[in-house]
């Protein structure tokens, strides 16, 4: 896998030149005017939203841990002056730092978050700055400290409860679901639970079956929880700030392999009040032939696959979910109604997963009539994660799987 940097604005403008109605391969030009109308509204608003955000973005580096990057030098002249390169870890760190400073009630607890600077160094420097009261090292007792965190939220504090990995949240899941997610409902609005649970989710590298599970579907299943899954640094920063400011329990699913990946962040994104709204997906790449919907690290794989496919004349629209629950069905439907084809991509297991939900929603909604082929899911293989490298590599969705699926769906 290689990293390739390109100017987003250039791509955006290139695609934008094409009229929407004739863009799909099936050549459909007639459609129910109601849906076209609402679709145009949606796409226009998402375009302008994208434009205002992306116009200030320069080149960025996507996915992968390999350090080879190809930069299109000629695009730098269009880059605004204040872009800063921030990796996902630092974006999370800065977001927490700023929110701790902004609101006295915010505090962080978890294993090794204080004196060790965080098991993955996400909370580096925070204990030094804020001390024992606001950055708390806990014993290895998830059920207990998750419960303590929820209780603190009941009483008016705004805890950030870190799970060293989301695998360990299974020890505490009762507190997340029964104590946090359901309480506002059970109390008929009397007791809000302004808590953020965060930590790395999904597969890493060589950590085997008990440390590699994706919990997006598990938590995404539960009403009362908000579940977010950032991909890049902008997502990480904006969504964490939004999560901390939200008065509801938020499950914040990070990705260990993304922590060290740098992205360019604009001045606007670096503002202290910059938030990414929870519940809104982002179209990372405009396309016309097929929609790829993904979350977290797989978004990068989708963009890489899109680059490869573009060489063969296939233009993929890549939707970054950003939020698992509430699911931004509108953005997905708008995209599917534009392209007529859908592939979902996720790291988790297929059965009862995020992709399954997206396909079901598309089936049940207006976008179904626009599908020219069945929607398809690219997922992790339906097995516990093996340790050996060759087996692990074949257990997770790869870029070639995405490309293969796209071609199958487009009947190429």
């Amino acid at each position: 896998m290689h990293r390739e940097a390109y100017c987003r604005r250039k791509c955006f403008m290139g695609v934008n030149d094409m009229p929407i109605s004739s863009s799909s391969i099936s050549g459909r030009t007639d459609s129910c005017s109601d849906w076209t109308g609402s679709f145009s509204r949606t796409s226009r608003s998402s375009h302008s939203e994208d434009r205002s955000k992306m116009a200030s973005l320069g080149c960025f580096l996507r996915t992968g841990k390999n350090a080879v990057s190809v930069v299109l030098r000629r695009e730098f002249s269009k880059t605004p002056p204040a872009a800063v390169q921030v990796n996902v870890r630092d974006a999370l760190n800065q977001a927490m730092d700023e929110e701790l400073e902004r609101d006295e009630r915010v505090f962080l607890l978890g294993e090794e978050v204080a004196q060790y600077d965080g098991a993955y160094k996400v909370s580096r420097g925070l204990w030094k700055k804020y001390g024992d009261k606001r950055i708390i090292d806990t014993p290895i007792t998830e059920m207990g400290f998750a419960g303590i965190a929820v209780g603190a939220a009941f009483a008016g504090l705004r805890p950030i409860c870190e799970f060293m990995t989301w695998n360990f949240s299974m020890q505490a899941i009762d507190q997340v679901i029964n104590s946090a997610a359901k309480t506002y409902y059970m109390s008929a609005g009397a007791q809000p639970v302004p808590i953020v649970f965060r930590g790395p989710n999904g597969s890493s590298a060589g950590v085997a079956a008990q440390h590699s599970q994706c919990f997006a579907a598990w938590y995404g299943h539960c009403p009362g929880l908000k579940v977010v899954s950032p991909w890049n640094s902008e997502d990480a920063r904006g969504l964490l700030k939004a999560a901390i400011r939200d008065d509801n329990p938020v499950v914040f699913l990070e990705n260990e392999l993304m922590y060290g990946v740098p992205f360019d962040l604009s001045e606007e994104v670096m503002q202290k009040d910059f938030v990414v709204p929870i519940g809104k997906a982002k179209v990372e790449r405009q396309g016309t032939h097929i929609t790829l919907v993904s979350h977290s690290r797989c978004v990068g794989f989708c963009l890489d696959a899109a680059t490869v496919l573009a060489k063969e004349g296939v233009e993929c629209e890549v939707v970054n979910l950003r939020t698992i629950r509430p699911l931004d069905v509108d953005t997905i439907e708008a995209s599917v109604m534009k392209t007529g084809h859908l592939v979902t991509v996720e790291g988790g297991w297929p059965q009862y997963g995020v992709g399954a939900e997206i396909c079901a929603r598309v089936m049940e909604g207006p976008a179904f009539n626009y599908l020219d082929a069945p929607a398809v899911r690219v997922t992790g293989v339906d097995i516990p994660m093996p340790y050996a490298k060759i087996l692990e590599d074949h257990s997770v969705p790869q870029i070639k799987d995405i490309i293969f699926s796209v071609k199958k769906v487009l009947n190429m």
Binding site: Q115, P139, I140, V207, P350, G380, F404
Partner: protein
């Protein structure tokens, strides 16, 4: 009394007496702390030459195997998590000296040493670390998930292994086979709620379980003072009798285990042992191990309490073995590790056919969904 007399006599013996005369040594052990026990394990232990050489060899094998794993990890031939046991060898070897292979044992992720003492070979352990088909779990488990007969891993989730161990003990009692289960956990896990639940049920049902807390002073980067309101882990079982011993002395560990095993087999129910020990490496290979403790501390333990040195000095100063003999063992161990490492780095990775196998036991082969709906894989038992 006879034992005490023999001890006295052996101490009077001239050092230049032929070692072949002294095939048995009586050792005075450090005092043991007791909780809810009138009597504890004996304060003397008889070490035979054969035992001494065996313990020496096994501890040295564990030591060298872990150091080799360190090397291979740094070369990126071992990936993921790797939690090394060097410094704690006396625990694994001493425990095994107090039970038999028909007894059961379960521990957490710092498990390479136990995999060896429980019957695994260095070859299959190292090949598992490197993820090859010759690995003890065919390359599918990795460092934290190694199993042998009557050894239930190798468990990645802190604390979960303890109730599992009680379950094994339940089965022993149920089947009436006079076996017991040793259930290990660290000072970090000792605060886990499920351990207290297990204490309760094991006591209620008088299960033949020995709880052993390997207290190496640090849970990842958190010292015992910062994580436990009570650091007297041997007392934390409350109504369960407990003993605390020096975990760096293989004989202390052995005597304590023998005592605990007798307690269990007599039908009295569970007993708790705390072994005071130390790990030289950090928590795992991604932890340098010096941000929360000083190098001086590590060095001090190494020079004053190293389990292998302690046994070696004991045997040499009592003429149980010669320096040359022990050196020969060192060389043999080194060769065994080198051969194992050679195997572990050249053995091929598991075949792709193995990707989906072992999902269900004793079941028909079935189709497994791959990364795309067109990738159809098969699972066999």
């Amino acid at each position: 009394l006879l034992q005490m007399l023999l001890c006295y006599l052996s101490r009077l013996a001239q050092p230049q007496v032929l070692r072949s005369r002294f095939f048995s040594l009586c050792v005075l052990l450090q005092k043991v702390d007791l909780h809810r026990l009138e009597e504890g394990p004996p304060l003397t232990s008889t070490l035979t030459r054969e035992e001494g050489l065996k313990y020496y060899r096994t501890m040295q094998t564990i030591r060298r195997m872990e150091l080799k794993a360190d090397q291979l990890y740094k070369q990126k031939i071992i990936r993921g998590f790797c939690h090394l046991y060097d410094g704690q060898e006396a625990c694994a070897v001493g425990i095994e000296g107090g039970i038999t292979l028909s007894d059961h044992l379960i521990t957490a992720y710092r498990a390479h040493g136990y995999t060896l003492t429980r019957g695994g070979t260095v070859r299959e352990i190292m090949a598992e670390l490197t993820g090859r088909r010759g690995g003890i779990a065919k390359g599918k488990g990795g460092s934290m998930h190694m199993y042998t007969k009557n050894f239930y891993g190798g468990n990645g989730i802190v604390g979960a292994q303890v109730p599992l161990g009680a379950g094994v003990a339940l089965a022993c009692k149920y089947l009436g086979n006079d076996q017991l289960c040793v259930s290990l956990y660290g000072d970090g896990a000792a605060n886990q709620g499920q351990i207290f639940e297990t204490y309760n049920m094991s006591s209620l049902w008088k299960l033949p379980i020995i709880f052993i807390c390997e207290n190496n002073q640090y849970a990842m980067g958190t010292s015992v003072e910062r994580s436990a309101a009570s650091t007297e882990y041997y007392k934390r079982g409350d109504y369960i009798p407990g003993i605390r011993v020096d975990g760096m002395d293989v004989l202390c560990v052995r005597e304590a285990t023998k005592f605990a095993a007798a307690h269990c087999r007599s039908g009295k129910g569970p007993i708790l042992m705390e072994l005071q020990t130390y790990r030289y490496h950090g928590h795992s290979m991604s932890d340098p191990g010096v941000s929360y403790r000083t190098r001086e501390e590590i060095q001090e333990v190494r020079s004053k309490s190293d389990p292998i040195s302690m046994l070696k000095d004991r045997m040499l100063s009592n003429n149980m073995a010669s320096i040359e003999e022990l050196k020969e063992i060192d060389i043999a161990v080194r060769k065994e590790i080198e051969d194992a490492a050679q195997f572990a780095t050249t053995d091929p990775e598991p075949p792709l056919d193995d990707l989906c196998s072992h999902i269900f036991a004793n079941d028909q082969p079935f189709e497994v969904r791959g990364a795309t709906p067109w990738t159809k894989l098969t699972s066999t038992s």
